[in-house]
């Protein structure tokens, strides 16, 4: 394991930012620390960097406990949320700063900076000041600056937060490609689930200072281990009484059920519906066009659920009565979670 955190605790006054954090990261992986704001993800990143000190626990980088090693000696590149570019230095000087501080050879600095500017497509911008750059260019300067001293570990704090939506998409794939090419172990913090799923090799989900789950994006999405993770992704509808829907196993002690839009099949009354007997009747309350699909808010069994319909399907209207069939849902008890399949699907597969 390349980076390891063992029993890390950190409190600010009454606020527990890290509550017994344990995880480890393999060399060369791109890790996404994902969680809502205030969940302690940035604190974790800053502790690894050495910008904050844990109250207790050990941080190990490359087999060495770094707790008492100052931030500047940890061999880390850090990309700040707002980039923290030196506003009174040119792009060139920004990138060269780390090497100059290390008193590297002039020729080496020049070669390295030019190489990085080429890599990050900043050629010709060396004499500009950060204020003369676009958001995307600034991010690339921050990236190049962090990479210049050849760090073993790259940490990025909300790397895309300060960029407008249009450019963000482009930069995501650029960054992923770049990091893969360089093979540098990287950890980035984000509150955006799409970003984490798309960019990271592995996701670590944080909530209230604890680690909820760690795994590949697919695994975390499909097999949530905690109710928090189950309800974090997508646009989940939370319902109190899942037994009001047909054909689900009755598990005792269940508090809530979570239904993701893709778990729901919405059929018009005149459409053929294989599981008609297990469907419930709902009324469409609102319809929103989401580009690739249509998002419906449906009132069923005294609760509301969010569902989707494709653009190629027949049009539905507000107030229309529709059949709702739930393929599966997550049931939760405390922080435990369990996936329940609709029994009619199981029966069906038995028949076939």
């Amino acid at each position: 394991m390349y980076v390891e955190l063992k029993n890390i605790n950190k409190t600010y006054g009454d606020y527990k930012a890290s509550d017994n954090i344990n995880f480890s990261i393999e060399k060369g992986k791109l890790i996404g620390l994902l969680g809502p704001s205030g969940s302690g993800k940035t604190t974790i990143l800053r502790m690894i960097a050495g910008l904050e000190t844990p109250d207790s626990g050990d941080i190990i980088i490359d087999g060495e406990i770094v707790n008492n090693i100052p931030a500047s000696k940890r061999g880390i590149g850090f990309v700040f949320q707002n980039y923290a570019l030196f506003r009174y230095m040119t792009v060139y000087d920004n990138i060269a700063f780390g090497l100059k501080v290390q008193k590297a050879d002039k020729k080496y600095i020049d070669d390295k900076v030019n190489e990085l500017m080429k890599l990050t497509a900043l050629e010709g911008l060396g004499k500009r000041y950060p204020s003369q750059l676009s958001g995307g260019q600034r991010q690339r300067v921050a990236f190049a600056r962090a990479l210049a001293p050849n760090p073993h570990l790259l940490l990025l704090d909300e790397p895309f937060a300060a960029i407008d939506a249009k450019v963000r998409q482009e930069l995501r794939s650029w960054l992923k490609e770049m990091i893969e090419k360089l093979g540098i172990t990287s950890i980035f913090v984000t509150h955006d689930q799409d970003e984490a799923i798309e960019v990271a090799d592995e996701i670590i989900i944080t909530n209230k200072g604890r680690i909820e789950q760690k795994g590949s994006p697919v695994n975390v999405y499909q097999n949530p281990e905690t109710s928090f993770v189950a309800s974090f992704f997508g646009q989940p509808s939370t319902i109190d009484d899942y037994m009001s829907f047909h054909s689900f196993e009755d598990v005792s002690g269940i508090e809530k059920a979570i239904i993701r839009p893709e778990f729901v099949k919405v059929s018009k009354k005149d459409e053929v519906q294989r599981f008609k007997s297990s469907a419930s009747e709902g009324v469409i309350e609102s319809i929103a066009f989401r580009g690739a699909n249509i998002e419906l808010k449906i009132k069923v069994n005294d609760t509301h659920i969010i569902a989707k319909r494709g653009l190629d399907e027949k049009e539905v209207h507000v107030g229309e009565k529709v059949d709702i069939f739930i393929y599966r849902l997550f049931v939760t008890k405390g922080n435990e979670v369990r996936l329940l399949e609709n029994k009619s699907l199981v029966d069906d597969s038995l028949v076939i």
């Binding site: 931030a71 030196f86 009174y88 700063f97 501080v101 001293p149």
Partner: protein
């Protein structure tokens, strides 16, 4: 857009005239009378007043006190601003409050405090005497009083600038292994250079004109412990109006220079 909000020009010019009249009488007229009076009896008399040996020694003492105040307060301002804006720690609020005390107390009270601290009735006095240091009614007292009344002038300019600027850039530089001095010189200083200059100008203005606190600690020994403002007071009270105004004209010239400098710095910094 603007057309809708146009006052009737009568109101506009009335208000402008009122302002101009008020400022003219309150600010320009005093300035004018100083210049007018100092040259009333010709250049020769003016020059004689200005080159008088007591005037010269007052100028020198004023410069000494002002330069000391600027240096001390710059050092303090830089360290205090760094400490307050770059770190989180307990007691920060208290420090900020303490820094502002010198501008909230009357200069006369400031003078009194140093009188009580270093004067004859003080517990320190015997020790000072043993070491042959006299503070009260001597040059050190004047310098201390000047430093005190201008104490926060530079830190107060620097702190807000550094506060809005945040700590990210310094953190980034520190992460890359830069030392404190390098960070300050390369990263922080470019942000505060205009504010620092501005603070120095304000500090100079106040230091050279300080009257109340210095007056208490001076003892008014002509040629020894008289600063320019104190010298002016003595001349005026002796009804030597022309010399008094002539010496004042030096300070008026300084004040005008300071105002111009201030506007220039503000204009440059805004760009």
């Amino acid at each position: 857009m603007d057309g809708k909000r146009k006052e009737s020009s009568l109101v506009k010019w009335l208000l402008i005239d009122i302002s101009a009249l008020f400022l003219g009488v309150m600010l320009l007229l005093p300035l004018g009378i100083v210049i007018w009076q100092s040259f009333k009896q010709g250049i020769a008399v003016y020059m004689k007043a200005v080159t008088d040996k007591y005037t010269v020694s007052a100028v020198l003492l004023t410069i000494e006190a002002t330069v000391t105040a600027v240096i001390v307060n710059t050092v303090f301002g830089l360290f205090a601003a760094w400490c307050i804006t770059k770190f989180k720690f307990k007691g920060k609020k208290l420090i900020s409050t303490l820094i502002d005390i010198p501008v909230t107390v009357s200069p006369v009270i400031a003078g009194l405090m140093f009188m009580l601290l270093y004067g004859k009735q003080s517990a320190l006095y015997p020790y000072l005497q043993k070491m042959h240091i006299s503070v009260v009614f001597a040059v050190p007292g004047i310098i201390i009083a000047t430093v005190f009344v201008t104490f926060p002038f530079i830190s107060r300019e620097l702190i807000p600038v550094l506060e809005t600027h945040g700590t990210d850039e310094e953190e980034a530089a520190a992460l890359m292994g830069a030392g404190g001095f390098t960070i300050f010189r390369k990263v922080t200083f470019p942000h505060i250079k205009w504010a620092l200059l501005y603070g120095i100008v304000l500090c100079t203005a106040r230091a050279m004109g300080e009257f109340g606190a210095v007056s208490i600690l001076s003892g008014h020994l002509r040629g020894k412990t008289n600063t320019l403002p104190l010298h002016i007071e003595i001349l005026f009270n002796e009804f030597q109006y022309v010399p008094a105004f002539a010496v004042s004209s030096i300070l008026v010239a300084m004040a005008v220079m300071i105002l111009v400098l201030r506007s220039v710095i503000e204009a440059v910094a805004r760009r």
